[in-house]
């Protein structure tokens, strides 16, 4: 079992650009959540996808959007990048209640 995999591991974007991050959940998991972890902070919940729909959303602007595919993999899109979007983006997958298995994250740097 490969666990939760995220790609890419690192990327650098210019302010104003758009970015897409990808996540493949642990085998059999049908729910994917995305978190943003700024430097020196704990992760903050962005949104969660289940059955290809956004089920819950945290306090993030509409510039942050996502998608879940029939195979349960997911994408996080961020438009009009700001310097403040620089962070580690973590994906977590789950199947049962009260569990979350995390990937290694994507480090996004906006310059």
């Amino acid at each position: 079992d490969a666990g939760v995999t995220q790609s890419p591991t690192h990327l650098i974007k210019t302010r104003g650009q758009q970015v897409t991050l990808r996540c493949s959940p642990k085998s059999g998991h049908d729910t994917v959540s995305w978190y943003q972890q700024a430097l020196g902070q704990g992760p903050q919940f962005i949104f969660q996808y289940y059955e290809e729909e956004e089920r819950q959303r945290g306090n993030f602007p509409d510039r942050f959007s996502g998608h879940q595919f029939p195979n349960y993999s997911s994408e996080l899109n961020v438009n009009a990048l700001l310097l403040g979007d620089s962070a580690l983006y973590l994906c977590a997958s789950s199947l049962a209640v009260a569990e979350a298995f995390f990937g290694q994250g994507t480090r996004l740097t906006v310059v």
């Binding site: 959540s33 020196g40 704990g42 969660q48 289940y50 979350a100 990937g103 480090r107």
Partner: protein, 115 residues
């Protein structure tokens, strides 16, 4: 809204000794879950231990145990026989029973195990 507070930004412990990391939280819910996650330099969040609020017995996982005080809204992590591999950031996290599996994290405690 739920909040999680970790008041110890950094801690250190001698190898083989015991250390306790503190966490407090605020919620109006009666049923919920609490977690401790470890984040080593590899960045991946690794589940250390989980506690269900309706269970009075404190959870234990090998060298890791918690002291869950529901009335005080306190959830501390005790690491016994500390090992060099325990060096990492430790995050306390809250999950509502009805929260669709989204976690609220504290700001973390950086633990260093000294040889």
């Amino acid at each position: 809204a739920q909040t999680v507070t970790q008041s110890q930004p950094e801690m250190s412990v001698q190898e083989a000794e015991t250390v306790t990391l503190s966490c407090t939280y605020d919620t109006s819910e009666s049923n919920y879950y609490l977690f401790w996650y470890k984040q080593p330099p590899s960045r991946q969040m690794i589940l250390v231990i989980r506690q269900e609020a309706y269970k009075q017995q404190n959870a234990t996982e090998n060298r890791f145990s918690v002291n869950f005080q529901k009335a005080a809204k306190s959830f501390s992590l005790k690491i016994s026989d500390s090992q060099l591999g325990d060096t990492a950031m430790y995050f306390c996290a809250f999950m509502s029973e009805t929260g669709a599996n989204n976690l609220f994290f504290g700001t973390g405690t950086r633990l260093t195990v000294i040889p």
